[in-house]
Symmetry: none
Subunit: 207 residues, 4 copies
DNA sequence: TATGAATGAGATTTCATTCAT
DNA sequence: CATGAATGAAATCTCATTCAT
């Protein structure tokens, strides 16, 4: 557990600014440290290295995000897709919580999702997509099994997971106000749900 | 007009590999040149600089892509959206041509769309989104004017332009076979068209 | 405020040698650093850049020189030129102080006056000429106003300012011994004063 | 004898511009050649190297200047300084011819006197000073021998030679019009002659 | 707890020069 | 007569990282 430390906080704060402005790779430790009134050595004492500093900046937000995502996927797995209203409700609730979370850690989320190239987290969005894809696959499979002559279109499923992640990233970068964001994401989610139901199943043709 | 030149070709070929592997910024001229059996000076004789080399790698693909996009948007602007079958046909044709083009310059397109950060073309995908957004806005406006009490949801329009570009980028990165790609993109496009018609218009509420 | 530091001193010392030998532009940081037993990175830690190193070498001498020059011009401006003996005394005193100063920072002055091409101080001699020209113009104007039918010959005034600066630069490069220098500059100054009185004013012809 | 050659002329012309603009060291052969519509190889065919090109640019002007200077010094050596009017006349005539020459090869002279640092001619002004110094020394010696208890002040003699050269360089850089130049140089030359007569001899004190 | 100093490897770029053709 | 191609050496500068103190 990190000791409460003034320099640590200062460094994290300045790193945040620098990462947002320049991204991980182009961020300069020297620049961060001189902004913080410290020297580069301090980074290597307080954190492991540049990636360690990056982690310290984003880990809080990342953990909460991961937790929410896991909860969502767990709920999802327990749910029967035919119980449509329940599903829709769960999704709405998830979306609201997600927007809350994203905007309560606006800078960190921005860094994590858009400015992490070169860091250990550069493939995080892809990992989210993978998690959703995997989770939704189970539901889709059940769904497909209940409809004769249909099978899951794996590509569409994956792409829908992809644009679901993209939808929130895009929201974050195009709308900085939390309340407006909540309004704007609604039709997007509607669209995703409808598309899911309509395009994830395809006719099971023989090859 | 570039003269056919062995070293030039070699350099372009090696640069292509390096850009794909590391992206523009992290690509090393030294590494490219030593792969090509040349010195860095050769780059500055044959091209302007690092960006010039990048341009030489991608310009062929880029020009064709731009031309196709312009043609598409011109067609789009001439079309009445109520002539649904025509529109669908035009879109299908565009999509097919685009897939052909993307896969006939697979590496270059990959570089342009995914590996150009730091180069003069780093905002190319955004510019594509902008062009589509602008072009589609006109159609959407006509559409909205013909339906009382409706107006264009600018955010949805923009996001749909965004994921349209994304759809092809995603295709390229997830399916390397041209023919399979053509199959896979079909339901994606269906989804985009349907969503467009359903979600771009919203009720015109008074404030 | 620069901390006393061994490497810093060493670097300044070696840079001094290199600048004297090759001038600013042709001086090589690599060469300076290897002479100092350090790497080029050290320069960028201890100074801003090549110009920063140059500044560190000459700033002490430069500040003193500027201060002396300002004092001289201030005295000059307060003085009535008709009070010839006072003027001559002031000039003698200034010349002596200047020679003292130049020879107490012999290398730095040499660099500043003869080896600064390409650096931020490359136009320093010209700036000195400008300052003298401007300062002397006021005296000359008063002088001219007191003699009917005469006006200031701007070109001669400027040239005399120019060779006054030149006189000291020339002295520095041709006489390395401080005491001999003081003897040698005397007739030069006599000549400058006499010429000033005789040639700065010309007949005010109607055009 | 150089063959009359279009490329040669073009190259010389473009080099002239580049040398004036950037000086010898900072002039770029590539830049010169591309301006001339040729390649750098051409320089090495038509001239020896960068210095050879420089020489081709300035040699015409340089030869004439040297010739004039030799004539002047020869006249000077034949003359009895006591024949004051003759001397003054000769000097006037020399000055007029020199101004004519300088302004009839304005660019070349500028390059030679102000932009030659780094080239084989970088010490040309110093060599002129040396020639004048040497030539005038003879006259001064005769003069001194004719006046008991006097001897030549070598330093003043040298400095006067120095500022004589400087006077013309300064003229060139501060007055681009030939006729105005001729007016402006007159009092300067008066000053030089008077100073020469007054300050070159000093009392021969016993050491 | 953190500094100050320095490294070493790397980056891109520029240059005069060479030479086969 | 000149090109086009390429070299090789050098330039300044930036960076993450290390470590004794």
């Amino acid at each position: 557990m990190p000791i409460n430390n003034e320099s640590r906080e200062k460094l994290i704060e300045c790193a945040k600014k620098e990462f947002i402005e320049k991204g991980f790779t182009n961020a300069s430790l020297r620049s961060i440290c001189s902004q913080a009134g410290l020297t580069t050595g301090a980074v290597y004492f307080l954190f492991k290295d540049k990636n360690g500093l990056f982690e310290a900046v984003v880990s809080g937000a990342l953990n909460e995000l991961m937790a929410l995502l896991h909860t969502h996927l767990e709920q999802e797995s327990k749910t029967d897709i035919s119980d449509f209203y329940y599903v829709a409700g769960e999704h709405d609730s998830f979306a609201k919580q997600l927007v809350d979370l994203l905007y309560s850690h606006y800078d960190e989320m921005m860094i994590l999702l858009e400015k992490s190239q070169g860091s250990q987290f550069e493939d995080l969005p892809d990992r989210f997509v993978g998690m959703l894809d995997e989770g939704y696959l189970k539901s889709a499979q059940k769904f497909a099994d209940s409809v004769p002559g249909k099978r899951v279109n794996r590509y569409m499923l994956h792409w829908l997971s992809h644009i679901q992640v993209d939808a929130f990233t895009h929201l974050l970068t195009h709308e900085s106000d939390r309340d407006k964001a909540e309004e704007k994401i609604k039709p997007v989610l509607d669209m995703l749900v409808k598309s899911w139901l309509e395009f994830v199943l395809e006719d099971d043709k023989q090859c």
